[in-house]
């Protein structure tokens, strides 16, 4: 079994009427099967309301399935006594950095998680220092978080997760509010954690450029997984993606447009180096 596994997962959001009775059920996840190997980098794409965030919240037991089962490192997220284990193994980073930083000093914020689960003080300091070094924020350890840029705040949030020594990190649109530099720093930090430390990464994003390095891309629509494959496989299906309200990286789009105009290029060109090479080899 992989580090994250879901079988026939379904989730209903329930709306209650004025008399506290169930008024309406909305199925947000429907029959989702998922198997993620330890150390993989997985990207989840899908339009707003497709079920991405609902799925992500199941991985660290913020939501419990209405039907089916979610296992994190073999633990069923339904078992209440294991919930803190699940959350230690799978850490979450959200879209808005200002909603997830609570400390008045950077290192205090990063130490909050370990302190909460009773890690000894000396060990907390070690973890904080280690986590801040890994995300490249050690120089800012004694600063107030509100003096940081959005990208820096997100890296502090990632450090907060890293300090919990998780098996897996889930990032729900972590770059949506950031400028290009901040976006690049955050994605590089996640890739490094994944490549060097073997932390399994689940990245939800609307920026197609950010997923071309992923091991696997999962596309969701209407609460179901509708496409799955390598970035190259997925981004070869330009028209299908557009129908799902998605897009392809700009370079892929240019290659696709050129191909439609008769230039003999391969499908699913992802990087500018690939496109430049392909065009140069036409001679």
């Amino acid at each position: 079994m992989g580090i994250i596994k879901a079988a026939k997962l379904a989730f209903d959001y329930i709306k209650y009427g004025d008399d506290d009775r169930e008024a309406e059920k909305v199925r947000a996840l429907d029959n989702v099967d998922l198997d993620v190997e330890k150390g993989q980098f997985i990207a989840i794409l899908g339009h707003n309301g497709s079920g991405k965030s609902t799925l992500a919240k199941h991985i660290n037991a913020l939501l419990i399935p209405s039907e089916g089962t979610m296992w994190v490192d073999g633990i069923d997220t339904k078992s209440e006594e294991e919930i803190w284990h699940v959350r230690q193994k799978a850490g979450m980073v959200f879209q808005n950095p200002d909603n997830q930083i609570i400390g008045t000093v950077v290192e205090e914020d990063v130490g909050f998680g370990p302190e909460n689960i009773g890690v000894p003080t000396q060990e907390i300091w070690r973890r904080v220092e280690d986590a801040l070094t890994r995300v490249g924020m050690i120089a800012h350890r004694s600063k107030s978080p509100n003096k940081l840029s959005g990208g820096q705040k997100q890296r502090v949030a990632i450090a907060g997760v890293v300090a919990m020594r998780p098996e897996c990190i889930i990032l729900d649109e972590p770059t949506a509010m950031l400028d290009p530099d901040g976006r690049r720093d955050v994605i590089e930090t996640v890739r490094e954690l994944n490549e060097k430390e073997g932390v399994t990464a689940i990245l939800i994003t609307h920026y197609m450029e950010e997923v071309i390095f992923a091991d696997r891309v999962i596309v969701m629509d209407g609460g179901r997984v509708v496409m799955q494959g390598t970035p190259r496989e997925i981004f070869s299906r330009v028209e299908e993606l557009k129908k799902l309200r998605l897009d392809v990286p700009q370079v892929t789009e240019l290659a696709w447009e050129l191909k439609k105009a008769g230039v003999p290029l391969a499908d699913g060109i992802l990087t500018r180096e690939e496109l430049v090479e392909a065009l140069c080899s036409l001679n």
Binding site: G46, M177, N283
Partner: protein, 287 residues
């Protein structure tokens, strides 16, 4: 000139150790009917700049003129200015509060003193112009999707019938199609109703595609101001400011280095496609 900033500076926490000069002697003119993109990294001064344009912030030094009048002059009516220059903040859907969509959009016009009938007429027109269909008018705004909520919030500003619409990252957090829809509707407002648009964005691709003029803000100054092709030709300097050119511009530069005589200033997919195809068809390869 519609809006003019003359030697404007703004200093936060003046005369304390936290003093920050967010705008530093900025000179800027906005003509009626332009579609302007503003780019700059977080903390560059973009938000401070746009808040000067409708008088939400008062310059520490310098003057802001609207249609030639000093907006901080003694008898100037700031309330009217804020009607003429509509500002849509980041995540404007957080400001929705009414029980249904139509009433929410009517709030501004009613507040301005219009009759309920007139306010409703304006609200209906504004909602339809941003693509919110009639069937949603009686829905609670909180039951809409993210993209729809945002359109309702933009309609709330449009219902004031502004001459200038300033939008601070209107597409943050939207899926690619939601982004294209919102930007498409903004373009339509610009083309069909001649509304002057000021669009703040972190997406170089979006400003390249939609704006006819790009203003770069860095350290409270404006190092570049011009057509997208011209501004993005400074991509090396932009990188030192935490910005970049659209991905496409980089492809074109690399192709040129490899000997293709392509247009290095192409900044949209359409421009790049045209230039590459012209080059391939002409048979001029690797000069």
């Amino acid at each position: 000139m519609l809006i003019e900033l003359k030697d404007v500076s703004y200093v936060y926490s003046k005369d304390t150790v936290y003093e920050v000069r967010a705008l530093d002697h900025v000179n800027l003119g906005i003509e009626e009917g332009q579609f302007i993109g503003i780019i700059g990294h977080t903390g560059s001064g973009k938000s401070t700049l746009i808040q000067h344009m409708n008088g939400l912030m008062k310059p520490t030094e310098g003057q802001v003129l609207y249609e030639g009048e000093d907006i901080w002059g003694e008898k100037y009516n700031l309330k009217n200015l804020r009607t003429s220059v509509g500002l849509v903040f980041q995540y404007p859907e957080n400001q929705l509060f009414e029980t249904d969509v139509l009433t929410d959009v009517m709030f501004g016009p009613k507040n301005k003193g219009l009759t309920p009938a007139e306010a409703e007429k304006r609200a209906r027109a504004a909602l339809l112009s941003v693509g919110v269909a009639e069937k949603y008018f009686t829905t609670s705004p909180f039951e809409l999707s993210g993209g729809q909520k945002r359109r309702v919030a933009i309609a709330g500003v449009l219902a004031m019938d502004p001459k200038v619409l300033i939008l601070d990252e209107p597409t943050a957090g939207l899926d690619p199609q939601g982004r294209d829809e919102i930007l498409g509707q903004i373009r339509k407002l610009h083309r069909e109703r001649g509304i002057t648009i000021v669009l703040v964005s972190h997406s170089m691709e979006d400003v390249a595609e939609y704006a006819e003029r790009i203003i770069v803000v860095n350290d409270g100054k404006i190092p570049f101001d011009g057509a997208p092709r011209e501004v993005f030709s400074h991509y090396k300097e932009l990188e030192t400011m935490g910005l970049a050119a659209p991905e496409i511009t980089y492809v074109m530069h690399e192709l040129r280095e490899r000997g293709f005589p392509v247009d290095v200033n192409a900044s949209t997919v359409a421009e790049a496609k045209e230039s590459i195809l012209k080059d391939l068809k002409g048979g001029i390869r690797r000069v």
